[in-house]
Amino acid sequence: MDWGILAGAICTIAVWTYLADNQNPIWELIQHIYIGLAYGWSVGYYWYTYIGPTFVGTGKDVDSLRTGHWEYIIPIIVGLLIYARYIPSISWVARYPLSLVLGWGAGYILAFNPPIFMGQITNSFYDLWTGQLSSSINNWILLLCLLGTLMYFFFTIRRDANPVMKGGVWLGRWAIMVGLGAAFGNTVLYRYNLFYGRLHYILGDWLHIAGG
């Protein structure tokens, strides 16, 4: 008997018991085990990939304090300042590392997001007469839906300001809903696939009664 498969199957069924009762003891037991495992794994992960190699110098060929990279003292001190929040008299100090992280996050977004939307814009330059009726109509629909959707997201022009805006927003809303409907269908199918995967695991890999 493969004990790994047995454990996986039991865990899967234990999670499914949530559907019958969302506070039953089997579900709560497996839930606590899962969270505990995840938390323990994270502690180990951060130790072996970040803290250990750079702070203590446990990693091979990794720059660390032990190999003379004293500049790591700065981020370590900044990071440790977060714990000041547990000392009421100096808890305000903890806001500095948080501000630094927030500022870095905003800068990162600004630096690495723009190239994505430039490509999206230029890919929206449709040829409205391709020489073929079907593809030309397709491009017209794409363009009108795109412009309508853009109008839907104008936040400083009232949606009933004029007939053009009103019509554009109406078209945009329909385009968004049709798009979301298609995405909904795709995602639901994907979730069914996941479910079939688990069924295959239990009936095939574990019980050997179906699925080969």
């Binding site: 995840a38 994270s42 927030l102 936040f155 009232r158």
Partner: protein, 276 residues
């Protein structure tokens, strides 16, 4: 990619002065225009000069309605940001909304439970909620134990949230603003089981359909950024959204011009410039 070609690719993409990368001149010009627009709008907003107003977003009223319902029922409000990351714009947009919700909860004396799967966001959220309670004049009502880091594993976090929803039975759940992934629908379903009114908002395209289908009110896409500005009334955020709107108008115009060129000309210099 073969090793030699890989080295060549690295050489080509090397940035001049660490800033200017080949093939991104168009993006640089766009960002420069955007920055100027935002700067001008923020300056005008700060100086009290007139800028265009942000119109009201219907889903936003639902937030105060949800908190009001929780108050009447004497049950808590649960706020989740999905799987937030400090490098995601949606997470940044969620902070003012969390502050707004926390302030409402403090004023109405309603318990707010915030669950978080990220240690950095956890620390930030705790500060935001603490500050909101302080601004509402009720710092004593803030309970740090109600801001809960569970774990940074996606589905282990989900398991923790499901337990909280089942045990605490919040009367309102606010899922704002993400990014959300596969956990979104599970939260919405568990919120419905707990009998909570649910207000959601995200720009995560794959999860938006679930928000629209499952939440009582949903803010879609960029509405979350406008909501952030509308609620905070901060000149910086408001100016940014107004500046963004002008920029969107430029994009709108660029698409029309680019389409006309693509239809009537053999080459498209606008597309070439924008991707140059």
């Amino acid at each position: 990619m073969p090793f030699g070609l890989s080295l060549l690719a690295q050489e080509e993409s090397k940035a001049v002065w660490g800033i200017f990368t080949a093939g991104q001149a168009g993006a640089f010009v766009a960002v420069a225009i955007f920055a100027i627009l935002v700067y001008v709008m923020i300056t005008r907003a700060r100086a009290g000069q007139s800028i265009r107003e942000i119109h009201k977003i219907p889903g936003l009223d639902a937030i105060s309605e949800a908190v009001g319902r929780a108050t009447e029922m004497g049950r808590p409000v649960h706020y989740t940001m999905g799987l937030p990351s400090i490098t995601d714009p949606q997470t940044i947009a969620a902070f003012p909304v969390l502050g707004y919700v926390a302030k409402l909860c403090a004023q109405y004396e309603t318990r707010l439970i915030n669950t978080v799967p990220d240690v950095v966001i956890y620390a930030i959220n705790e500060e935001i909620i603490r500050q909101a309670y302080l601004e509402a004049g009720r710092p004593d009502a803030f309970n740090p134990d109600d801001v809960r880091f569970i774990t940074d594993w996606q589905f282990a976090y989900v398991a923790g949230v499901l337990e909280i929803l089942a045990a605490e039975k919040p009367a309102a759940q606010i899922l704002f603003a993400g990014p959300f992934y596969a956990e979104a629908m599970i939260f919405i379903e568990a919120g419905a089981l707990a009998g909570a009114i649910q207000v959601g908002g995200t720009a995560s395209t794959a999860q938006l359909p679930f928000f629209v289908a499952g939440c009582d009110y949903a803010l879609i896409g960029e509405e979350i950024y406008a909501a952030s500005a509308y609620l905070s009334k901060e000149p910086i955020i408001t100016g940014t959204v107004v500046g963004e709107d002008y920029f969107k108008f430029l994009i709108f115009a660029a698409i029309i011009v680019g389409t006309l060129i693509a239809t009537f000309a053999t080459s498209n210099p606008l597309a070439t410039f924008m991707t140059s």
